[in-house]
């Protein structure tokens, strides 16, 4: 017996409920389709709320249909509910829009499937009205927040990929079958929901009541999506002015508030609130006012309708047969809306992801940048079921799905978090450039200050790094420890993201993934972290972005209109953006300017291979423009550096001892520290050769450019490492960053070439090499992965801050510490004495973050250099006496990167020149302080306080113009005798304290910048040792030593901040303009692609479907 015969004999009655209002010509098609059903027990009821009376039209087409005419313009749900009062004895209701046309067997198949699957709600496969080969909906899913996500990416060609009966969370209201008793028990649709999300609400409640919602794809229904009965009356009624998005959001929220149990709500509401808050922030940033209003309005509306909501909630809970836990298993994991948004951002970029925002226009399609080139679409390749499980028989494509890439990203994130677990929990040790940050106010003050204590005192402008740190600290509510962690540890993901973005135009998602992971797998950044090299870390984070910006600013795309770049952005905006990036990176790593030049030159020279050098030559002027912009943005500091003369090169980095050069081989595998010594470190650079070996077309051309960049960076790094560049010695780690970016990008390009350029070739050496090199890229990250166990990526557990607390000046006194050692090991910004030996001073104890950025010129502190040189050359045994005028109380020789703790393991050894400690040992007035491994401390027995007073006369020493101490103001014993600490109290107005008649000495340069007032009257001033200040005090009393100089620091800093704000405004404005342009393009495209033959329905533009 056939199924048809069975249905004919004992078929349960089905009532088709068609809701219509002022229908178009499709109503007849709908009625004809219903009339043509092979299901024998089908009765058609047409509900017509408001509008013109369609009875005559219905009678002509379907004379057996019942028409229920309602004068009130009800919404769709409320209108459909009318059937509950007028029909009795029906087993099922078929809820229909008037623009649906079921296939003749659709109703029968849905009824059959309802019995077979014991489902109360059955959704058919909805296809396009005019082209049934295109899918519209095959059921829908929803996440825990009620956000609805379609299972198909419309328009999607129906080739049977969804033809399996399965549970879904939502049966779209266009057409679905529901058991009549369930409909009655639930009370039908929620009448408060005039439009939008009423199907979500009904299906959710059905599942709460223990019903099953499935899709029966064999039952096919054409849907015009042309009309939305009930919408217009609602929109013109109480909810006039509410957008469809607003309706959707508030109804989603109402459904959530109704359907969850109380305990579940307690857990979920904070999450929903957090998500909503984040959405609002992003929407505000992108000027998506409609979204902001919708999200906020959803909460306001539900609060306003709380009484009704509570009643509805009680009704739902009375019907509950199933716990929320079971319901949740039917929902999507995570936040569907967030993942959809992130997917758009990752695929389309920030602007394009928001291009559809505002106005509810269609968002750009999730085509990805290479959609036309690769069949890599997730849904195309893989058909995940609703629970996120891969169906049997579907062979996975490695890392092809978004989910698998997300998984890799999560694993990488987890490894980074694990690897930095010790760093996250506690403060950073004072190692390298990781000195503790001052408070956010002090950091800002430092940026605007006119005088700084570095060296012996300087009026050179502060580095822009202070402003960046101050800004970060302000944003993070003054948490400077958190600021430092974010700054340091954030460099890793930001850098990897930058490489991924750099590779985006090449179109291979796997390539982007491999490139980012390869970048994370290179030892360079971990070695930098282990050495506390913030400059290398920041370069690591920003150079990939700079390279991408440089490429954009170079307008290498021949297809772009002249003078225009990405999305039509003007050339001025492009190099301004490049300049901002360079300025940001240069604030912490001035040597990044060298990187920019290297990259520009590499792009140009690399283009010689492909014969496009003329075009690529624009990279060089673009780089220069960007550098110029960066210099202007940092103008006060740049001017200060320029005035330093020959010392200016020192800001790029200081030369290390050539004897400690790491060598060519180590550079090639980025082995600059504890990570990277393994032979496995060769694998990533080797894998980067893949694109050269098997790539073609643009992949080969760009591989050539990237490898040229890498070669130049390696070469320059090698020359600097070996000390061949003299005083031009940019930090080797910073110089190597472009090479690291090139290698990582080369790995990504290689994967892209693997996917693209080997297609169709017979198996041969290329496939073999490609497979091996792709595997090598994966294995090459193992040395970095192995560091995870360390918990701090090799950064020493303790730094000089703790070990050298004893050199801190006692309260009420003031003194300096002279630091000597290899510039790579000194925990403070320094000046070079000779390759491998640098010096610096700190005020009153161990260094702070303010000491990390030394001014380019040492100023009067240069005499410390000369004094140390005298000692090294055996030309004095009185170094302490020579250092005394500078108030140097302690001399710290740094021999290791960090103090060595016995039994715990040593840090990286960075010994100073071997003659230094023996030379200091010979000094009669330096007393070595016992204890400590990794450093040697000398107590200067001849030291005088930084601010001192004595009853005797002034200092008489003058600068020697000849002899061994030429250039030095050599103190006589009388010059150093009798001084006592004075002016030990610091306040905003200066240094205060009582003084007695005699002389007050201040070892603070420049001499003329300070004045002393005693009892409010100025004291006569004179220079001591030709740079320090001394004052004659005739009458004792309360005195104040204060700065008496034009506040150039504040003026320059203020102008710099204003300039940054202006540039930021310009760039944001440009970006918004681009976003607006994209939105317009998106709307126009959507209009072209989606325009129906008749009136376009707003009903189906709802967000998320």
């Amino acid at each position: 017996m056939s199924s048809q015969q069975t249905a004919a004999s004992s078929a349960p009655a089905v009532v088709a409920v068609v809701v219509t209002r002022d229908p178009g010509p499709w109503l007849e098609d709908c009625l004809r389709a219903l009339g043509a059903q092979d299901y024998p027990e089908l009765v058609v009821v047409v509900v017509a709320p408001g509008g013109a009376d369609p009875t005559a039209r219905i009678g002509r087409t379907c004379p057996d249909a019942f028409v229920r005419r309602i004068e009130e313009p009800l919404g769709f749900g409320a209108a459909a509910n009318e059937v509950l009062g007028v029909v009795d004895g029906a087993a099922f209701f078929l809820i229909c829009h008037d623009d649906c046309a079921p296939d003749p067997s659709a109703v029968r198949l849905m009824v059959e499937e309802s019995f077979r699957s014991n489902a109360a709600v059955v959704s058919p496969k909805l296809v396009r009205w005019d082209d049934p080969a295109l899918l519209l909906h095959v059921g829908m899913n929803a996440d825990k927040t009620g956000a609805v996500v379609d299972r198909v990416q419309s328009p999607e060609i129906d080739h049977g990929q969804h033809d399996g009966v399965r549970d879904v969370f939502v049966a779209p209201s266009g057409c679905f079958l529901i058991r009549a008793d369930l409909m009655a028990e639930l009370g039908g649709f929620d009448p408060s929901m005039a439009a939008m999300a009423e199907d979500l609400d009904l299906c959710w409640r059905a599942q709460v009541a223990g019903a099953r919602v499935i899709v029966a794809p064999d039952a096919r229904v054409r849907h015009l999506e042309a009309t939305a009965p009930g919408v217009e009356p609602v929109l013109t009624g109480t909810d006039a002015g509410a957008s469809l998005q607003a309706l959707q959001r508030r109804h989603e929220l109402r459904t959530v508030l109704k359907c969850y149990q109380g305990a579940s709500l307690l857990v979920l509401l904070p999450q929903i609130l957090a998500l909503n808050l984040g959405e609002i922030l992003v929407a505000l940033a992108m000027r998506d006012q409609d979204r902001v209003r919708s999200v906020v309005g959803a909460w306001r509306w539900n609060v306003a309708h709380r009484a009704d909501l509570l009643a509805a909630r009680r009704a739902v809970q009375r019907c509950r047969q199933v716990s929320d836990g079971q319901i949740r298993r039917n929902q999507l994991r995570g936040s569907a809306r967030l993942s959809q948004y992130l997917s758009r951002v990752s695929h389309l970029g920030f602007e394009a992801a928001h291009a559809g925002a505002g106005g509810g226009a269609s968002v750009p399609e999730l085509t990805g940048s290479i959609a036309g080139a690769f069949s890599e679409d997730d849904s195309f390749d893989e058909d995940w079921d609703d629970r996120g499980h891969r169906p049997r028989g579907v062979r996975p494509r490695l890392l092809a799905s978004r989910r698998s890439r997300l998984l890799v990203g999560l694993v990488a994130t987890l490894l980074l978090v694990l690897g930095a677990r010790h760093l996250i929990g506690g403060p950073f040790p004072t190692v390298g450039q990781l000195a503790p940050l001052s408070s956010w106010t002090a950091t800002w003050h430092r940026f605007f200050a006119t005088w700084h204590s570095q060296g012996l005192g300087t009026t050179a402008p502060a580095s822009p790094a202070s402003a960046v740190l101050g800004m970060l600290g302000t944003v993070l509510l003054g948490g400077m420890g958190l600021t430092q962690k974010v700054l340091v540890l954030g460099c890793l993901p930001v850098g990897a993201w930058g490489v991924s973005r750099l590779l985006a135009p090449f179109g291979s998602r796997r390539g982007r993934l491999f490139g980012a992971v390869a970048y994370l797998g290179l030892p360079l950044v971990y070695d930098a972290l282990a050495h506390g090299r913030l400059d290398v870390m920041v370069s690591y984070a920003l150079v990939p972005w700079i390279l991408a910006a440089l490429i954009r600013a170079s307008a290498l795309d021949p297809g772009a209109p002249a003078g225009a770049g990405r999305h039509g952005r003007s050339s001025r905006a492009r190099w301004l953006g490049l300049g901002v990036l360079i300025a940001l990176a240069g604030a912490f790593a001035p040597a990044v300017v060298v990187d920019v030049v290297v990259m520009a030159a590499g792009l140009w020279l690399g283009s010689l291979f492909s014969g496009t050098a003329r075009q690529a030559g624009r990279a060089v002027p673009a780089a220069l423009q960007g550098i110029l912009a960066a210099l202007v943005l940092s103008a006060p500091w740049v001017i200060g550096v320029g005035l330093a003369g020959p010392h200016a090169l020192g800001v790029l980095g200081e030369p290390s001892a050539p004897a400690r050069a790491v060598g060519w081989v180590a550079l090639l595998r980025f082995d600059l520290g504890p990570v990277g010594g393994s032979a496995l470190s060769w694998l990533l650079p080797a894998a980067a050769l893949l694109a050269v070996l098997v790539g073609s077309g643009p992949r080969l051309a760009w591989a050539a450019r990237l490898w040229t960049v890498a070669a130049l960076a390696f070469g320059l790094g090698f020359a600097v490492d070996r000390g061949w560049t003299g005083s031009f010695a940019p930090t080797v780690g910073v110089v190597l960053v472009p090479a690291a970016v090139a290698v990582a990008a080369g790995v990504g390009l290689g994967v892209a070439a693997f996917e693209t350029d080997l297609v169709g070739l017979r198996f041969g050496w290329r496939q073999l090499a490609a497979t091996l090199l792709v595997a090598a890229a994966a294995v090459g990250t193992l040395p970095a992965v192995a560091e995870v166990g360390n918990g701090s990526f090799g950064l020493p557990a303790s730094g000089y801050g703790q070990a050298l607390q004893f050199v801190s000046a006692r309260p009420g006194t003031s003194s300096r510490v002279l630091w000597l050692g290899d510039p790579a090991a000194l925990p403070v910004g320094s000046w070079t004495i000779s390759p491998g030996l640098a010096y610096a001073t700190t005020n009153g104890g161990p260094p702070t973050a303010g000491d990390v950025d030394a001014p380019a010129a040492p100023g009067p502190a240069a005499q410390l250099d000369e004094a140390v040189q005298l000692a090294r050359e055996g030309r004095t045994v009185h170094l302490g006496r020579l250092l005394a005028p500078a108030a140097v109380r302690y001399v710290v020789v740094v021999e290791d990167l960090a103090p060595t703790v016995a039994g715990v393991g040593g840090a990286v050894a960075d010994p100073p020149p071997p003659d230094l400690v023996p030379a200091l040992d010979q000094q009669d007035d330096l007393r070595q302080v016992p204890g400590g491994n990794g450093f040697v401390v000398y107590d200067n027995t001849a030291a005088i306080p930084e601010r001192a007073a004595r009853s005797g006369g002034p200092v008489r020493a003058v600068r020697a113009v000849s002899g061994p101490a030429a250039g030095l103001a050599v103190p006589t014993p009388a010059d150093l005798a009798g001084w006592r600490p004075a002016l030990g109290s610091s306040s905003s107005s200066g240094y205060r304290g009582p003084v007695h008649p005699g002389t007050v000495y201040a070892a603070m340069a420049p001499a003329g910048a300070f004045h002393l007032s005693v009892r409010g009257a100025p004291a006569p001033a004179a220079a001591a040792f030709s740079w320090a200040a001394q004052f004659r005090v005739a009458r004792g009393g309360q005195a104040t030593l204060s700065l008496a100089a034009v506040p150039w620091g504040g003026i320059g800093g203020g102008l710099e901040v204003v300039l940054w704000v202006l540039v930021a405004a310009v760039l944001v404005d440009r970006r918004l303009a681009v976003a607006a342009r994209l939105r317009a393009v998106g709307r126009a495209r959507a209009g072209r692609a989606e325009a129906p033959p008749g009136r376009r329905s707003a009903r189906h533009e709802r967000v998320g479907r």
Partner: protein
């Protein structure tokens, strides 16, 4: 175009721009080979450059302890130890301060005794003159050490000691060090050996001492963790713990701080007496030389070659009498072991003929420390015994300054004077050396000589071979000498009265 439109993906003139789908067959692009070749060339070139270009060593340059500070220095200091005060009388120390500059040198002499007494006095040394100071007279006690601190350079300070057993001379040190080595020493037949540890710094020093004897390495507990306070002198009587050892080599290792170490050896057995005061050697070296040695019938000339390093060293000793083929001796010296080579018994070295000794270390080790000791028959003029360090090749300069054994009116011992002035040319080329006498009126040139590459030359009253005696030197034996050479030269004086060459010596200081 989507948001991530490939704007630099598309290259002019390149195939498949924008499509992402490349041509089916890679390898057709002609520049691939060029690119690969360039990359390989860069790779290999970098590696070659890394290997071929010399990488400077980070090793500390060896500076001689007794180099005279340039006259232009801001300040300088000399540290002297090893002698006794007049009260001790075994080896009463006298400091010889030689001012090589043409302006007066103002110095502060600070003396300390082993009893902890300190005293200091200002000293002024006239231009181009030498003065003698007795530190023991300031502080008394048994042993004495001193610091001579100067507000300039150009001054050489040496130390002579004399007593009932004889006399000796040594240079003082211009620096402290954290390790000191003494290759020779003996505690047999009533011989005494004391090591003075002088800490002239302001930091406490903690010192360990290790001894290598024929019976093995000894680290007596009393010689471990010796604390030497800042500015203090500690004297360690080695013979009390290392007894009846024919050969004692000593390592002074400073755990913290730095010291100056000097050894005082006395011999009084079988009618043969003598003493020697020696400044330690702060580091082993690979090449050593003794420009002039003589085996006497009935006497004993010994080379003590001490390997203080943790690795074995192959050492080759060459003894070359003037105008004769060299006799070569080779030995692998184990770590912390001393090779005692008695040249007197060697058939290939004739008695009575002066010979040049060179000691070279083969292999890559840090090197050895070499001492030479002489023991003449008791019938010879006293002192019959003396020991001194060999000359470290590489420590010499173009100018060598040798202080006189006391000033003419105040000799170190009665009749003290020059026996021979020995010059050794360690370089590969012949050099020309001019010997001058430093007098108040200026330098008086005495003689100009040629010294062949790798050869030694002796001048002076007792130089019976080679070019023989030079007229005038005998008369000027009690004035400082300056040797100016066209290449680095090593100079050493053999002083009289003494039984034979090498009993009392004074090494030149680089000027």
């Amino acid at each position: 175009m989507s948001g991530s439109a490939p704007e630099f993906f598309e290259d002019a003139g390149l195939p498949d721009a924008g499509s992402g789908r490349g041509p089916a067959r890679p390898g057709r692009v002609p520049y691939r080979a060029v690119l690969v070749v360039v990359l390989v060339a860069a790779l290999v070139g970098g590696e070659l450059a890394d290997h071929l270009v010399h990488r400077p060593s980070a090793r500390r340059p060896a500076t001689p302890l007794a180099a005279i500070a340039p006259s232009t220095v801001e300040s300088s200091a000399w540290y002297c130890a090893g002698g006794t005060s007049e009260g001790g009388s075994t080896a009463a120390a006298t400091l010889q301060l030689l001012n090589t500059t043409d302006r007066p040198a103002r110095a502060t002499l600070s003396a300390v005794s082993d009893t902890g007494r300190h005293a200091s006095e200002p000293v002024t040394v006239p231009p181009r003159a030498q003065v003698a100071e007795v530190p023991g007279s300031l502080v008394g006690g048994n042993f004495v050490a001193a610091t001579v601190e100067l507000a300039q350079g150009g001054v050489l300070v040496t130390e002579t000691v004399d007593g009932p057993l004889g006399w000796s001379a040594t240079s003082c040190s211009r620096s402290t060090a954290t390790s000191w080595y003494f290759a020779s020493g003996s505690t047999v037949n009533g011989g005494t050996l004391a090591v003075s540890l002088y800490n002239p710094t302001t930091t406490v020093a903690v010192v360990d001492m290790t001894f290598a004897t024929p019976s093995g390495v000894e680290q007596p507990q009393p010689f471990e963790g010796i604390v030497v306070a800042p500015g203090a002198l500690a004297v360690e009587p080695v013979d009390r713990y290392v007894q009846d050892a024919r050969s004692v080599s000593t390592i002074v290792s400073v755990r913290t701080g730095a010291v100056v170490a000097a050894a005082l050896q006395t011999v009084s057995a079988g009618g043969s007496t003598g003493l020697s005061v020696r400044l330690g050697v702060p580091a082993p070296a690979r090449d050593w030389a003794v420009p002039r040695a003589i085996d006497l019938t009935g006497g004993l000339t010994v080379l003590s070659i001490f390997n203080p390093t943790p690795t074995s060293e192959r050492v080759v000793v060459s003894a070359r009498p003037f105008d004769s083929p060299a006799a070569t001796f080779s030995e692998v010296v184990a770590p912390i072991t001393t090779w005692v080579l008695e040249t007197t018994g060697a058939n290939r070295i004739p008695d009575g003929i002066p010979f040049l000794v060179t000691v070279r270390v083969r292999g890559r080790g840090a090197g050895v420390v070499v001492d030479r000791s002489e023991d003449a028959p008791s019938s010879f003029v006293r002192p019959q015994f003396g020991a001194s360090s060999a000359l470290r090749v590489g420590s010499g300069g173009g100018t060598e300054v040798l202080a006189a054994p006391g000033s003419a009116p105040n000799p170190a011992v009665p009749g003290a004077g020059l026996a021979t002035l020995d010059l050794f040319n360690p370089g590969p080329h012949r050099l020309v050396a001019r010997v001058s006498a430093l007098q108040a009126s200026g330098a008086v040139a005495l003689v100009t000589v040629h010294v062949a590459a790798g050869a030694a030359l002796s001048l002076g009253p007792a130089a019976s071979t080679g070019i023989g005696a030079v007229a005038g030197l005998a008369q000027l034996g009690r004035v400082p000498l300056v040797v100016s050479a066209t290449a680095p030269v090593l100079a050493v004086e053999n002083l009289a009265p003494a039984a034979t060459t090498g009993v009392v010596t004074m090494t030149g200081a680089r000027g």
